[in-house]
């Protein structure tokens, strides 16, 4: 009698890819040098780049998407696209800025598809320019500082909640500037807009963020 067993989740994984470059050495090699090696087809160099940058890419996506599984998938997609596009990368921008640009495209593609699938559930215009006047005060009446009455955990939840209420463009501008520490020009490159637009997005996003946190 044949001995046969059926496991519903038949998910034996395929062959492991070749050995990755050691993480220990990654600190000594610049991104530019790793990119140069990648462009010659060195996958180990790419693995070092992935290890070096996956945390920032994942954090950025996670803060935009707010879903662990989707963030994981999208981060994978980002690096697949990075690998495919590396031969055309000309190093006019920093590798990390270029990578954020790809991350931006992947996230916005996902949002657009999701928006179609959910028939407008995702509203890009949660905040339009008119909803916060240029001269408006984000802190209309000075009461207690938003964080004064909040514990660290509550503060984090409060900040995350406020960020989620921003439009994707405003949220991304805030995250790229305040969390990832990019310069205005880099943000403009990532978001494919002018520096003036970046300034405007930051201006209104900050006001809205302060307003939301003051209310909460």
């Amino acid at each position: 009698m044949n001995f046969f067993l059926h496991i519903a989740s038949n998910l034996v994984k395929g062959p492991v890819p070749g050995d990755a470059g050691g993480e220990g050495a990654s600190e000594e090699i610049s991104d530019a040098e790793l990119v140069r090696r990648c462009q010659k087809g060195d996958y180990d160099a790419f693995d070092v780049l992935v290890t070096r940058h996956r945390g920032r890419v994942y954090a950025m996506i996670q803060n935009m998407v707010k879903n662990e599984a989707d963030s994981w998938d999208l981060a994978q997609e980002v690096f697949v696209k990075v690998w495919k596009a590396l031969p055309k990368f000309e190093a006019r921008a920093r590798f990390s800025t270029w990578m954020y640009r790809i991350t931006h495209n992947v996230v916005y593609d996902w949002m657009r598809k999701r928006k179609v699938e959910t028939a407008g559930e995702l509203d890009d215009n949660l905040l339009d320019r008119e909803s916060v006047a240029a001269g408006a005060h984000a802190t209309p009446a000075r009461e207690a500082r938003p964080d004064e009455a909040l514990s660290q955990g509550e503060l984090r939840a409060s900040i995350e909640g406020a960020l989620e209420k921003l439009s994707p463009e405003h949220r991304e501008a805030i995250l790229l500037r305040e969390v990832q520490g990019l310069e205005y020009k880099e943000i403009a490159d990532v978001m494919d807009c002018s520096i003036g637009t970046v300034m405007s997005r930051l201006f209104y996003a900050r006001k809205k963020l302060q307003s939301l946190l003051t209310k909460s």
Binding site: N2, A8, S9, V12, K13, G14, D47, A75, A138
Partner: protein
């Protein structure tokens, strides 16, 4: 002053990035709205809170698997570039990895037990199993070891997972019967632990 210019100067003022000349340009606005100073101080505190609450870097879950899977996808993609499987196309399977590990491992424990019993009855146990070259099972836990063995005679694959906590029998629904002309044992791995 035009709104766009005002927004730009105020934004850069918040970031402490104005030159002396720009600061002089902004002074009339600040004189007109002195509360902006308080707003700026509040935002600087908020920025500190934001940075504390939202780390710039968070490793994805199972980071080593992240790299190994990425490598596999890229290599498979380059091998079959004409009919390249896009990462999105693989997403359905990929999503499963979050959920299959423990149930699959559960099934493997039972299967290992059953196969062990069967192997014990074989006249030539060594001929029953063969290493499954080219396959891999990823365990997210360092304390859990995995091994894949291919049983060519029965065209089945054995997953051995060691180091898992004991499972209650009631957690497993095991049955037997014919499937596709073969007699077999069936393990319900649908449940997620």
């Amino acid at each position: 002053m035009k709104n766009d210019r005002k927004e730009e100067l105020l934004t850069r003022w918040m970031d402490d990035g104005l030159s002396d000349e720009e600061l002089r340009e902004l002074e009339p606005v600040l004189d007109e709205s002195p509360e902006l100073h308080q707003e700026r101080a509040d935002y600087i505190r908020l920025r500190e809170d934001l940075r504390a609450a939202m780390p710039a870097e968070v490793d994805p879950p199972f980071p080593d698997y992240f790299n190994s899977r990425l490598g596999r996808v890229i290599r498979e993609g380059s091998r079959a570039s004409s009919s390249a499987e896009s990462p999105r196309a693989a997403r359905g399977l990929n999503r499963l990895w979050f959920w299959w590990m423990v149930p699959a491992a559960t099934g493997a424990v039972v299967f290992a037990f059953l196969l062990g019993m069967k192997s014990g009855q074989s006249a030539n146990p060594a001929a029953v199993v063969d290493s499954a070259a080219g396959s891999e099972v990823y365990s997210p836990l360092a304390s859990v070891s995995t091994e894949v063995i291919l049983d060519r005679e029965s065209n089945s694959t054995l997953l051995i997972v060691e180091g898992l906590a004991p499972l209650e029998d009631v957690d497993l629904a095991v049955g037997g019967g014919f499937r596709d002309g073969h007699h077999g044992y069936y393990v319900n791995t649908e449940k997620v632990y």
